[in-house]
């Protein structure tokens, strides 16, 4: 942003200060993430710069230590299962919500969104009490159901947003040509809203993949997920293996988010093309 040529000296100074301030804020935003990555390649177990030497030993520990490997595996199992469940349920609900003739739509929407609004500790404690009664604590199923509940709002919101741009006359056309409702959904609706569904699924996966509070309450050591393992690692004695785990998570999140961005661009392109 350039200043107009008639800007006074004071204005130029203010503007320079403003730009300087912005630069500092951007540094503040990215530094923590950029600093932690190189530390995971340090050859020594302390967190200083310049790095004493380069080594992959923390990654060896991360991928070789059974606790971490089990944690990655558990995160993957719970993440995939809850994503599948959340995406199916969430997409169906979004289809129902956006048909425009649902009674009590506002009420239903606020119930469906509520897991996102309630502070996660409350959710965790409530589930801990209730799931104990039906024997779901310390089980994969309990954790999967809990993560599913937390992720469905993201699917509902994302798919609903995609559906607002969806042209209903397409499904009507397909139906009038004799397609059964399921065929209409499979051949017409789904391919068009697919980017939204995939984004919703990715959001659901990330929600489960990053979730720690519910996992702290509901999971026994057997279902220990990656964030939970990191949480106890930071609490006890922070070892550089945690920086390797953090880097792994950063790279993983970056990949997922790049996918999301590409999907968003694709759907924008499609929207413009129409």
């Amino acid at each position: 942003m350039a200043l107009p040529s008639y800007a006074s000296r004071g204005e130029r100074l203010t503007h320079a200060a403003y730009l300087g301030f912005c630069v500092l804020v951007f540094i503040f935003l990215v530094t923590p993430i950029l600093v932690i990555v190189p530390l995971s390649f340090s050859s020594e177990p302390w967190f200083t710069y310049p790095l004493p030497g380069l080594s992959l030993r923390w990654y060896e520990d991360f991928f070789g230590n059974e606790r971490w490997v089990v944690a990655i595996k558990n995160s993957a199992i719970v993440g995939f299962a809850s994503t599948l469940l959340a995406t199916t349920l969430g997409t169906l609900a979004a289809l129902g919500l956006s048909r425009g003739n649902l009674p009590y739509r506002g009420l239903i929407m606020s119930i469906l969104i509520s897991p996102m609004v309630v502070p996660v500790v409350i959710t965790a404690v409530a589930m801990y009490f209730a799931y104990a009664l039906v024997g779901l604590n310390n089980s994969y199923l309990g954790l999967i159901l809990a993560h599913t509940a937390l992720s469905t709002p993201f699917v509902v919101i994302t798919v609903t947003a995609t559906l607002t741009g969806f042209d209903r006359s397409l499904t009507r056309a397909a139906a009038s040509l004799g397609a059964a409702p399921w065929t209409v959904f499979r051949i017409v609706t789904l391919p068009i809203i697919a980017p939204g569904v995939v984004s919703g699924a990715l959001f659901a996966f990330v929600t489960s993949w990053d979730e720690v509070v519910v996992a702290l309450f509901l999971a026994s050591p057997e279902q220990r997920t990656l964030p939970r393992q990191m949480f106890s690692g930071i609490r006890e004695q922070i070892s550089p293996t945690i920086t390797a785990a953090a880097t792994f998570l950063i790279v993983f999140a970056a990949l997922l988010m790049t996918t999301l961005e590409l999907l968003r661009r694709r759907s924008e392109r499609l929207a413009r093309g129409r």
């Binding site: 942003m1 403003y18 301030f21 912005c22 804020v25 935003l29 923590p32 993430i33 600093v35 932690i36 530390l39 967190f47 200083t48 710069y49 609900a93 129902g96 919500l97 003739n101 649902l102 009674p103 239903i108 929407m109 509520s114 897991p115 609004v117 309630v118 996660v120 500790v121 409350i122 959710t123 965790a124 404690v125 409530a126 589930m127 009490f129 209730a130 799931y131 509940a149 469905t152 993201f154 509902v156 990330v206 993949w209 990053d210 720690v212 509070v213 702290l216 309450f217 990191m230 949480f231 930071i234 922070i238 945690i242 953090a246 998570l249 950063i250 999140a253 970056a254 988010m257 999301l260």
Partner: protein, 420 residues
């Protein structure tokens, strides 16, 4: 459409012989049912896996089963007893029978613990008299055994308190969550000072959330403005710098701050190297570290709504104000800033609401005096095993969150929040 439809339409009836109006109503009803059928699976799932547990937790904040369930005969016998004196032998006999049963079921400690919340020291007296009753000859009389065990058993105030604690529901936990209690005569009073910690925790939670909100606004407003006023090519690049931390997990970012803020961590290194500090200072496990890390995590949540509002403000407004003679400050505060207020409101409320529920970051970066309500909910659930208190604190946190969420919904609307 079948070929018979057209004449039927002309006659005012549908293909099924119904009037067009009835046929339309029927189709609409069917369509509504389809919508409902699509939504129902998720609705049932959320109700079963989330809403019912939540309701159950809220109920637990007033549920008071211990005494009523462990000492049923005593509670029944006390119904006929009028408060103010010490009960007679029948009540003591009932209590003795209940306690002997409790000794067998090993639940004396449980009921003692519950009474102990309101009458400190009661637990050991329950355990003591329980052991003595087991050894006592069957058939009583029971009252002398209690009298000999501890003078408290003949204290009228203790008995009125016990009668109250025997009710199936209690306001005790909820009152305690806001540092109130019923004294032994049943009047509402302030909690005794050494147990009155929860209002402090509540105000601390609000205060930390406010500090974080203000910091994110101060840091975020200028960069939102910069992002909104740069040409798209540059803005997109800078936007990545906002989105990169946004998409990185909270745990990873908290880890990063733990590493950065340690006494022999990177930030202390840099400040010593620059000569800003002579000695390394404590940056972590205190309020500074907590607010700093939380500000970093919440900054994108504040920036993005402000940015999207600023994006919609035409630059012509500022140019017009300037050309009409307004100075830069006047034009900014009178023309530009008021238009950004909806975004500022949305961003700040979002950050404030999310900050209220923080648990992980203060637990890892904060000291004992930086723990927010969430921490105490977890503490009473896992460590103290006082689930009534945990639920009551959860109810308070939920209520505070809902108040601000209602304001947010009024002003902004949850469906307008964009993700990514």
């Amino acid at each position: 459409m079948s070929s018979t439809t057209a004449p039927a339409l002309a006659a005012g009836t549908g293909p099924d012989g119904l009037s067009l109006k009835a046929s339309l109503a029927r189709a609409e009803r069917r369509s509504r049912l389809v919508s409902l059928a699509l939504v129902t699976p998720l609705l049932l799932f959320i109700v079963a896996s989330f809403c019912i547990p939540l309701g159950f937790m809220l109920y637990r904040a007033i549920d008071n089963p211990e005494v009523a369930e462990t000492l049923p005969a005593t509670v029944a016998a006390m119904k006929g007893w009028t408060q103010g004196g010490v009960p007679e032998e029948p009540v003591f006999a009932a209590l003795a029978a209940d306690l002997i049963a409790a000794q067998k079921a090993r639940t004396t400690g449980l009921v003692g613990k519950r009474v102990n919340y309101e009458i400190p020291g009661a637990r050991s007296k329950f355990l003591k008299v329980g052991r003595e009753l087991e050894r006592a000859p069957a058939g009583g009389p029971w009252k002398p055994i209690f009298e000999k065990s501890d003078p408290q058993w003949t204290d009228p105030v203790f008995w009125s308190a016990l009668k109250r604690i025997g009710q199936p529901m209690t306001a005790f936990y909820l009152l305690s969550a806001v540092d109130l209690r019923l004294d032994q005569t049943g009047a509402l009073t302030r909690q005794v000072p050494d147990q009155a910690i929860f209002l402090d925790v509540l105000f601390r939670t609000l205060w930390i959330s406010l500090l974080v909100t203000v910091s994110t606004l101060v840091l975020g407003y200028p960069i939102a403005h910069l992002l909104a006023s740069l040409p798209p090519r540059h803005a997109n690049l800078l936007m990545l710098l906002v989105l990169l931390p946004f998409t990185t997990s909270i745990l990873v970012r908290t880890t990063a701050w733990v590493v950065l803020l340690q006494t022999n961590g990177v930030l202390n290194d840099v400040m010593v190297w620059l000569g800003l500090l002579d000695e390394r200072i404590q940056l972590i496990y205190n309020r500074f570290g907590t607010v700093l890390a939380m500000t970093h995590i919440q900054l994108p949540f504040t920036v993005l709504p402000i940015y999207s509002v600023m994006k919609g403000i035409s630059p012509a407004h500022m140019r017009a104000a300037r050309s009409l003679g307004a100075g830069p400050v006047y034009a900014f505060t009178r023309v530009y800033m008021p238009q950004t207020l909806p975004g500022v409101g949305a961003g700040c409320l979002l950050t404030f609401i999310l900050s209220l529920g923080y648990y992980i970051t203060p637990a890892l970066v904060g000291g004992p005096l930086d723990q927010m309500i969430s921490y105490f909910v977890a503490l009473y659930t896992n460590r103290e095993l006082n689930w009534g208190q945990a639920s009551a604190l959860g109810a308070v946190l939920l209520a505070v969150t809902m108040v601000f969420y209602a304001i947010f919904n009024r002003l902004v609307g949850i469906d307008k929040v964009k993700l990514g």
